[in-house]
């Protein structure tokens, strides 16, 4: 029951992965995302890609 309550899809996780770069996630959002990323290699990879993108854009002027 609790597991179902905490479970989110890749689509929902990717929204939270983006938003955590722009705002502080709520505790429940944070927990849901963390649990999803623990189980989902594909989304973990996309989380790394989002961080990669941020760093790349900051280097555009170098």
């Amino acid at each position: 029951m609790i597991g179902r309550w905490l479970k989110i899809t890749c689509r929902q996780a990717q929204v939270l992965m983006s938003e955590r770069q722009d705002r502080a996630l709520g505790r429940l959002e944070h927990l849901r995302l963390r649990l999803h990323l623990t189980a989902c290699d594909w989304c973990s990879r996309i989380a790394r890609h989002f961080r990669f993108l941020s760093e790349a854009v900051r280097r555009l002027d170098r």
Binding site: T9, S18, H49, V57, L60, D61
Partner: protein, 191 residues
């Protein structure tokens, strides 16, 4: 470096500044104005350049302020663009199954430093940014390059926080897909 050399070096930065200003402002006239004002400010203040940072870093810092000034001058036009873009619905259905899981496996991008060390990578990144709708590119660059807080972005663009989060998400998804396709996909063997 003497003042004359500094002035020459500042002038040589113009193409780089213009490229960045165009990416951020998505309007050639505004970009030209921001860069011209940057160069004037830098040349007028060259005596104040302490030499503690790189000259380019100092001039880019001035450009960031001039870009924000330009946003304020063009506030009406920019906020109309942002509101129009915020109203667009982009569901990315092609990326997900009906139950919300990804359709295909994202590639492993490897060591970021190896991409950052290649000039061509930044050409591809610039191409991907150019392909974003102007309002999406502006909000993304405001957040990631100008490093503005979302509250300030919302104030400058006249959009809600929710709209800004949605636009930033759309920009990231599009850029990720574009880089994966144009830079990280395996190259077809030459025939």
């Amino acid at each position: 470096m003497d003042t004359r050399n500094l002035q020459q070096t500042v002038g040589e930065l113009r193409p780089t500044l213009l490229r960045i200003a165009r990416l951020q402002l998505r309007n050639d006239t505004w970009a030209e104005d921001a860069v011209s004002e940057t160069l004037i400010s830098a040349l007028e203040g060259v005596d104040r350049f302490s030499g503690q940072s790189q000259l380019k870093t100092w001039v880019v810092g001035i450009l960031k302020h001039k870009i924000i000034d330009q946003f304020r001058r063009a506030a009406k036009e920019i906020s109309i663009d942002a509101a129009t873009e915020a109203a667009q619905v982009e569901s990315f259905d092609e990326l997900y199954t009906a139950d919300g899981h990804r359709v295909d496996q994202p590639r492993e991008w490897g060591d970021p430093e190896s991409a950052y060390s290649r000039v061509q990578f930044f050409d591809v990144l610039q191409l991907c940014l150019d392909e974003l709708p102007p309002a999406l590119a502006r909000v993304f660059m405001m957040r990631e390059w100008l490093e503005l807080e979302t509250a300030q972005i919302c104030k400058e663009l006249g959009v809600t926080a929710t709209n800004s989060f949605v636009m930033l998400h759309r920009a990231r998804i599009r850029l990720r897909e574009c880089l994966e396709l144009r830079w990280f996909a395996p190259k077809a063997p030459a025939s």
